[in-house]
């Protein structure tokens, strides 16, 4: 049986990804480490503040994980939520698990917590880099309903690798935010095709921001995560310089493009509109030599 990653709760995703019986949660729901900010605003607060952190096994390898629950306030990062992720990453620096896995589904900072949420996100970024500097690969998975946006979109690009599904979305300002700030003429957030060719999984894979694209199933994510752990993490200065060069060339090459389709055409796709219809295997095969990384 294949279980949709997109449709699953954070707890169901973790249960499906980890080796059976290996799940161990830190600060579980019963500890009631809830948000003091939401209590002050007279709002019900989730027992786990919308994120599950802990350790477990994947294909026999010990990993640490954090899984954001998009259903609770759109996976938004509050003070406690962020501190749980940071604490887990800092423990990874001490304990050296085979990898840290971040299942991100978030709109970014929890606005109710304002500055505390912003600080939390910046601490997550620093903690990701600390874990990588200590030799622990940090692998991000994106495939939930709410995508991965705001500060956590930046945090995800601090990681060693990103695995995304076609349904996954990755960006900084989300579609609704762009429309609110710049107007519907600039960006129509209800135009789903436009949204997906701006922030969707296939586009992010073609731009080289995501390393792996998988079909929407927990099992497919599990395979990709296992492979990603085996790949390790290139944290060298040369790798960083290559990345910066790629980004500089990308701006030069695509800076004038108005639409994802223009970029795809420039990448050598004769019929950009057909991309949306390709299934995952067809898409990966057709994308060989046609990603921004490939030049």
């Amino acid at each position: 049986m294949t279980r949709s990653y997109y449709e699953s709760s954070a707890r169901a995703r973790i249960a499906g990804l980890l080796d059976e019986g290996s799940f161990h949660e830190w600060l579980p729901a019963a500890d009631r480490l809830t948000s003091p900010h939401l209590a002050a605003l007279e709002q019900p607060a989730a027992f786990d503040d919308g994120v599950i952190v802990g350790r477990g096994g994947i294909a026999g390898k010990q990993i640490f994980f954090a899984a954001q629950e998009g259903g609770f306030m759109g996976g938004a990062v509050g003070e406690v939520h962020g501190a749980k992720i940071v604490g887990m990453l800092e423990r990874a620096v001490c304990d050296h698990p085979a990898a840290v896995l971040l299942l991100l589904e978030t709109g970014g900072v929890r606005l109710q917590e304002a500055n505390a949420g912003l600080i939390a996100v910046s601490e997550v970024m620093r903690a990701i880099l600390s874990a990588r500097a200590a030799g622990v690969p940090v692998i991000v998975a994106i495939g939930g309903q709410y995508g991965c946006f705001g500060g956590m979109g930046i945090a995800s690009r601090c990681a060693s690798a990103i695995i995304i599904s076609e349904e996954g979305r990755l960006g900084l300002s989300g579609p609704e935010v762009i429309e609110t700030v710049r107007g519907v003429e600039e960006y129509d957030s209800r135009d789903r095709a436009l949204v997906w060719r701006t922030v969707g999984g296939k586009h992010r894979y073609l731009l080289g921001e995501c390393d792996t694209i998988v079909p929407d199933s927990v099992e497919a994510f599990r395979h990709a995560i296992t492979a990603s752990i085996d790949n390790g993490d290139d944290w060298s200065l040369a790798a960083l310089e290559r990345e910066h060069q790629m980004l500089a060339e990308r701006v030069q090459r695509f800076g004038a493009c108005k639409d994802g389709r223009d970029i795809w055409r420039e990448l050598g796709w004769a019929d950009p509109d057909a991309i949306a219809m390709l299934d995952n295997d067809e898409f990966i095969a057709a994308a060989q030599g046609r990603r921004a990384k490939d030049k």
């Binding site: 707890r11 729901a29 709002q43 019900p44």
Partner: protein, 106 residues
């Protein structure tokens, strides 16, 4: 936000392992079930975003206790405006998960 408390006496002591089900999202709720030495009673605490529905909560919880008669447990609910039918289903799911996890452990 409203904070409601219920207690039902003379339930069957019910063994299990702490369980959490559901998500605190719009129209949904999360239910935490924990073992508690309450002399066979079941205590329920509800935090809900929707004010003024205490009589409906009382009815839904009474029905739940009548169905399962589960005692020596503490149930904590965070609610974001779930309908009574959803609440009943989640409570059933929670107690079944609590009991099932207990069986795996032993």
């Amino acid at each position: 936000m409203e904070n409601l408390k219920y207690r039902f006496d003379n339930g069957k002591p019910t063994q299990g392992v702490t369980a959490i089900v559901g998500v605190l999202g719009s129209g949904n709720l999360e239910v935490l079930v924990e073992p508690a030495a309450l002399g066979g009673a079941c205590e329920i605490e509800v935090k809900t975003a929707a004010n003024g529905f205490d009589r409906i909560w009382q009815a839904v919880m009474s029905d739940f206790f009548a169905r399962h008669r589960a005692g020596d447990i503490r149930i904590s609910v965070n609610d974001a405006g779930a309908t009574p039918a959803i609440v009943s289903l989640r409570l059933d799911q929670a107690i079944e998960t609590y009991i099932a996890q207990g069986k795996i452990k032993t």
